[in-house]
């Protein structure tokens, strides 16, 4: 029986990984099309209908390119670092619940890969390991611009990881659990305010935490306007300057997968995940995540890049105190308003 559950879990994980990789490829297409539309351009439209075959063409092109290793690179580390980034990125999706347990052919198929009771902390831990791909890549390139980009990225990710973690504490206090399934279950209840009956989504009870999470998540995934580590204009690209061919694309693919995972996480933590009007299901989760992905592209098209001191000042002087304030307020509400657990 245990073997059976393990196999089912592996199968769900396999399907999820492949869906994620496919989505990632089309996320690049989506970003280029939306960005082009916002900038009054056309975007990729030649390869296939609406340019839909463009990601495949890109993949073939990158695979066919030469894989160059600089002469003064730390060879083994240089070769492994992008793989580390890429391999860690999809692991976060393993804890996201995609729906209720299915019953097929007498088998119980839970629509999530691993039900860990510290799921959110697990995602944060993955983030803290993911930085290694960047800093080791920058160090191993034997190039000062790469190293500078990597150091920037490290400082940025460490700072914003703090904000990301602290912004979630309010949600933990309200839900009384670190498990995503429990957090989802809490959100499926109804929130009654006078004559209004609203879903108990945490975006309503934790709006400050939601805003903090959103900002920190953009910084954590190194996306505009916090894309300092890959500032083309100052750093000749940043930590991946020396990378070429498919190793170069590994970093980008990892970034896109991270965006998808963070969007799924935000939808699950704050917008009720699979919960929605009419019929609950994975489509609501997909719709909400798609909104966040669009938001990412929207930000990139709209905002200029932060200066480095502004970036660090924002994290430490604005977001961190706000996150602590939110924790204090939520704790008081928990203690006096809804009562202790």
């Amino acid at each position: 029986m245990d073997w059976q559950r393990l196999l089912v879990s592996y199968f769900v994980g396999f399907v999820l990984l492949n869906v994620l990789l496919g989505l990632m490829a089309y996320m690049t297409w989506f970003e280029r099309r939306v960005l082009a539309r916002m900038q009054h351009r056309v975007g990729p439209n030649r390869t296939g209908p609406f340019g839909l075959l463009q990601p495949i063409a890109d993949g073939i092109k990158l695979l066919a390119k030469e894989d160059i290793v600089p002469a003064n690179a730390d060879r083994l580390v240089f070769l492994v670092a992008p793989l580390l980034s890429f391999a860690l990125a999809p692991l976060g999706a393993a804890v996201i619940p995609f729906g209720e347990t299915l019953h097929l052919f007498g088998l119980e198929i839970p629509l999530l890969v691993a039900d860990i009771n510290v799921a959110v902390l697990y995602v944060l831990a993955l983030g803290s390991i993911g930085v290694y791909g960047i800093i080791l890549g920058g160090y191993a390139s034997g190039n000062r611009y790469s190293l500078l980009g990597a150091l920037r990225s490290t400082a940025q990710v460490i700072s914003y990881e703090l904000v990301l973690g602290l912004s979630l504490v309010g949600v933990f206090i309200l839900a009384g659990s670190l498990s995503l399934q429990d957090i989802l279950r809490e959100q499926q209840r109804a929130l009654v305010i006078g004559p209004l009956t609203l879903p108990n989504w945490y975006i309503l009870s934790q709006p400050l935490a939601f805003a903090l999470f959103l900002i920190a998540a953009v910084a954590e995934t190194n996306r505009a306007p916090f894309d300092l580590p890959e500032a083309e204009t100052e750093l000749v690209a940043g930590y991946f300057t020396e990378y070429s061919g498919f190793r170069f694309s590994f970093y980008f693919l990892a970034e896109y997968i991270n965006m998808i995972v963070v969007s799924l996480l935000a939808a699950t933590l704050f917008l009720g995940g699979i919960d929605g009007p009419f019929v609950d299901g994975v489509w609501w989760l997909a719709l909400k995540a798609l909104f966040f992905l669009f938001f990412y592209v929207w930000l990139r098209a709209t905002l200029p890049r932060f200066r480095y001191d502004q970036l660090m000042g924002l994290a430490w002087k604005v977001l961190l105190p706000l996150a602590l304030l939110n924790i204090g307020l939520t704790g008081l509400v928990r203690l006096w308003g809804i009562g202790a657990l």
């Binding site: 009771n117 697990y122 831990a125 080791l136 160090y139």
Partner: protein, 241 residues
């Protein structure tokens, strides 16, 4: 059960290999990578023991903190200095060996005499399930029985944070720089008049000025004010007066 033992042995072996790598690797960044590898495998061993919270915290706190080590190494250790990092200093090697063997003996003694085992605590599988899981049981214990320890730790960390802020305060730094300016100006530029013959030779080297070689043979010139220097940088074309 046997599968668990197999996985445990694998993780333990990789963990020990990583720890060996920390000691053996000649490049400090490789040492740091070995350390992370070792920590991650220990976290996986916690997972096998169903201590999920401990495993995740191990990754966040320990494996995440090694990144700072990597940053320090890349910032502070020049690649040319790397062979010196390990050096052939017999006294140090001997001290390390003695301390390592002593630690190993201590751990072995503790395990063999079973002094690590106390009386069984109140938590059994049933009580943990009744509370609602490992993590919740841990949290309740920490925040009731060990409240004082938690608060003391928090106080200690707060003190460390305040200390760091005070040290890094911009006023403190700028005051020190201003104080240094009042006495001496340190510059890597030429003293005025050495390579500009058209200027009046009114300013020779300051009476108490020194020209001394610093790292890489680059001279450091001390003078009383910045106006005694030209704008021209000194590297590459220094001439002694």
């Amino acid at each position: 059960m046997s599968l668990q033992v197999l996985i445990f042995s694998l993780l333990a072996c990789v963990s020990i290999l990583g720890a060996l790598g920390v000691v053996i690797a000649r490049n400090p960044v490789h040492s740091a990578i070995g350390l992370v590898l070792s920590f991650l495998n220990v976290a996986a061993i916690y997972l096998i023991a169903r201590a999920e919270f401990l495993a995740v915290v191990q990754v966040i706190v320990y494996a995440g903190a090694v990144i700072v080590l990597v940053v320090f190494v890349t910032m502070l250790v020049h690649p040319d200095d790397l062979p010196e990092f390990h050096g052939r200093r017999p006294l140090r090697v001997a001290t390390g060996l003695v301390l390592g063997v002593a630690l190993l003996l201590e751990v072995a003694a503790a395990i063999l005499t079973r002094s690590l085992y106390g009386a069984p605590g109140p938590w059994t599988d049933q009580t943990i399930a009744a509370v609602g899981g490992n993590t919740r049981a841990l949290g309740q214990t920490l925040y009731s029985d060990y409240m004082l320890a938690i608060q003391l730790t928090a106080l200690l960390l707060l003190a460390a944070t305040i200390g760091a802020i005070v040290l890094a305060r911009p006023e403190a730094v700028s005051e020190r720089v201003a104080a240094a300016r009042r006495t001496l100006t340190i510059s890597l530029a030429h003293p005025r008049g050495l390579d500009q013959p058209e200027l009046p030779p009114a300013l020779p080297l300051p009476p108490d000025g020194q020209v001394k070689p610093a790292g890489g043979g680059r001279p450091i010139v001390l003078a009383r004010s910045a106006s005694e220097f030209t704008e021209q940088p000194a590297w590459g074309e220094w001439r002694t007066p």
